[in-house]
């Protein structure tokens, strides 16, 4: 009878022998395999946040690694764990990934101790992305609160690199105070080279602050929005995008043209572990980018 009980060796399945390709979601492959990447540069932003530049070491993997603005990667620090981090760099830079990481727990704490040259693993990219193609020919409102600027940098770069394809672009950015504003050294470039209308606001101004003071919704009153010709991308804490999106709704912007990026704890990134489930939706598969209508229909989303 033994002849009928032959062992099935999954590692010899045809698709398992092909190089890992994370965008081919339905192909059987080594889903836990991490791309090894080296930290090539660390840019301190605040006490808590740093920008990490990573380069995938294997030239073949570097070539195959592509992503869309809004997607995230699982960063694997061997021995410590994995964390989901949204990609903060331009989708056109092959194999070079920038991640803006806040020191918030065990794994990110270890990353803050890591130096240049340290090697981490990357899995991904995972998740949905902002519809950059759909937005072409339209006005774009990029609205960020606090650390929300991190996932917003990817669509921002995508727009700046293809600037003629888009109409008026506003970037509205709010933070608790001036010291919490990230990427201050890039504002001039975004404004002058990128032709992005940048508006900043803080909640508690320090004595040298000369700009706007208040909640981010106040900035919406300062600009003219054409609801029929505008898309909005909103990233920030849930309470912030709730107020922003509700105000945009009042201004006539349809909910299916507002996009938000949600944040949840993820253990797998592949729609298995359930940790990022909202009601019944996987943030890792169906998100993290959702249109606001979908978010309104998710229980416990906000």
């Amino acid at each position: 009878m033994k002849a009928h009980l032959h062992h099935f060796d999954i590692t010899r399945e045809e698709s398992m022998l092909l190089p890992v390709e994370f965008h081919r979601k339905t192909r059987l492959q080594h889903v836990d395999k991490a791309f090894k990447a080296e930290i090539t540069r660390i840019v301190p932003l605040t006490d808590m946040e740093r920008l990490y530049q990573l380069r995938i070491l294997d030239p073949g993997e570097r070539e195959r690694f592509t992503f869309f603005p809004g997607q995230f990667v699982m960063v694997d620090v061997p021995g410590f764990g994995e964390v989901p981090i949204s990609i903060s760099s331009s989708p056109s830079s092959k194999g070079l990934v920038e991640l803006c990481i806040r020191k918030a727990g065990l794994v990110t704490g270890v990353l803050h101790k890591a130096g240049q040259g340290a090697r981490v693993g990357l899995r991904g990219p995972f998740g949905t992305f902002f519809p950059m193609e759909q937005m072409k020919g339209k006005n774009v409102l990029l609205i960020a609160g606090g650390l929300g600027i991190a996932p917003l940098r990817a669509p921002l770069y995508s727009i700046i690199e293809n600037r003629p394809d888009y109409n008026t672009v506003h970037l509205l950015y709010g933070a608790r105070d001036q010291s919490q504003m990230l990427f201050g050294y890039q504002y001039e470039q975004w404004r002058r080279v990128g032709d992005v209308k940048l508006h900043l606001i803080v909640e508690t101004p320090d004595p040298c602050w000369t700009g706007e003071v208040g909640r981010i919704t106040a900035l919406l009153e300062k600009i003219r929005i054409d609801p029929d010709e505008t898309y909005a991308i909103v990233c920030g804490p849930p309470v912030m995008f709730k107020f922003v999106c509700n105000r945009l709704s009042e201004l006539g912007l349809p909910m299916h043209r507002m996009f938000v990026s949600l944040e949840r704890r993820m253990h797998c990134g592949m729609g298995k572990c359930c940790r990022c489930n909202i009601g019944s939706t996987y943030t890792c598969l169906d998100g993290p980018v959702f249109d606001y209508w979908t978010v309104m229909n998710l229980k416990e989303a906000i």
Partner: protein
């Protein structure tokens, strides 16, 4: 599907032959509980006499043989400031004998999550494809409500499926593997008498159900009753221990953690089954917890089982085995909670 008939004596010989060749997991009586009820577990067996094919239900489901409570996903070795990752898939050839229809249906549901759709899991598929399944029909177990969920019969997902006709088994064959195996023992074509008898047995089983759960419009009711006081009522009883998810044949959620070896020369990435009823299930960075309340977590489990899964796969995740109801220390059982929800809707 092909059907055959095999005598019980031939089946015993068949199992004994298999026992000399592969590991067999089967229901075994391990103890008797305080009410005098037998406690069965799916465990490895050495001889046919240890197999309790007439068992009512097991306390744990057989999912541990497909998605183990703890599983190694990857290993890392450290050398000269660098690391190397290695991944191993474990899939020993073995046979699970005596699975009931609900448990086979549970595997079919797990297949949808783990083996199909986005990111099929090689860990799961290696185990699933190397496991032979011989299922068996049975009279309804106390408290089971599989008939309400349409999981009391099964049409695929096994190699052989037996229905007891007294001195012989009516065998459904769902794989060439099962067909070839059966060729090795004496079996006969299905006769008119066999078919008549089979139908009579199935009718008897169908009539034997005493627990019913109203599933009509349940996905919508769950959404409408999201703020219902029913959740506060049952949530107040819930101990957030996670037992329900551990015994459930379809709950698959897990946590991933890593650990260093004592000499720091290597590390392991492990997956451990979790439960959405545990306090930190939805806790995120900055210590914010999306489901800090017991009642919210309890509600969430029902929401995923009876609405979320339906949205994705057009069928509920629950198979109605009521293992969670039997195991719950606080006496929370799905038939009661769901009945309560329906009452709430009428009020």
């Amino acid at each position: 599907m092909l059907f055959r008939v095999i005598t019980k004596e031939a089946f015993r010989k068949f199992v004994n032959t298999l026992l000399s060749e592969i590991e067999i997991i089967a229901p075994r009586k391990v103890a008797t509980d305080y009410t005098g009820r037998s406690i069965y577990h799916y465990l490895p067996v050495d001889r046919f006499e240890d197999v309790a094919l007439d068992y009512d239900t097991t306390r744990f489901s057989a999912k541990t043989y497909f998605t183990p409570f703890k599983e190694n996903l990857a290993s890392y070795s450290f050398q000269n400031g660098d690391w190397t990752q290695s991944i191993r898939y474990r899939g020993v050839t073995r046979l699970i004998l005596g699975l009931h229809a609900c448990d086979i249906n549970a595997l079919l549901k797990l297949d949808k999550v783990m083996a199909r759709g986005p990111f099929p899991s090689p860990h799961y598929i290696a185990r699933r494809k190397n496991t032979l399944i011989i299922g068996i029909d049975h009279d309804p177990c106390a408290g089971g409500f599989c008939r309400s969920l349409g999981t009391d019969t099964v049409t695929h997902g096994f190699d052989l499926f037996l229905t007891d006709l007294g001195d012989r088994y009516f065998v459904a064959i769902d794989s060439d593997r099962g067909f070839s195996m059966l060729q090795e023992v004496e079996n006969t074509e299905v006769t008119e008498d066999d078919r008549v008898e089979y139908s009579a047995v199935r009718r008897r089983i169908a009539k034997g159900f005493t627990t019913h759960v109203e599933t009509h419009n349940l996905p919508n009711i769950l959404d409408i009753e999201f703020e219902s006081p029913v959740w506060a009522k049952w949530g107040a009883k819930c101990l957030s221990c996670g037992t329900c998810a551990m015994v459930c044949p379809t709950c698959y959620c897990y946590g991933v953690s890593q650990e260093f070896s004592m000499d720091f020369a290597s590390a392991r990435k492990n997956k451990q089954l979790y439960s959405c009823n545990l306090y930190d299930f939805a806790r995120v960075a900055g210590d914010h917890n999306f489901r800090a309340r017991t009642s919210t977590r309890l509600k969430y489990r029902y929401y995923h089982q009876h609405r979320g899964f339906v949205e994705t796969y057009n069928e509920p995740m629950c198979v109605g085995c009521n293992r969670c109801g039997n195991a719950c220390l606080a006496g929370i059982s799905p038939p009661e909670v769901i009945a309560d929800l329906h009452m709430e809707e009428k009020a």
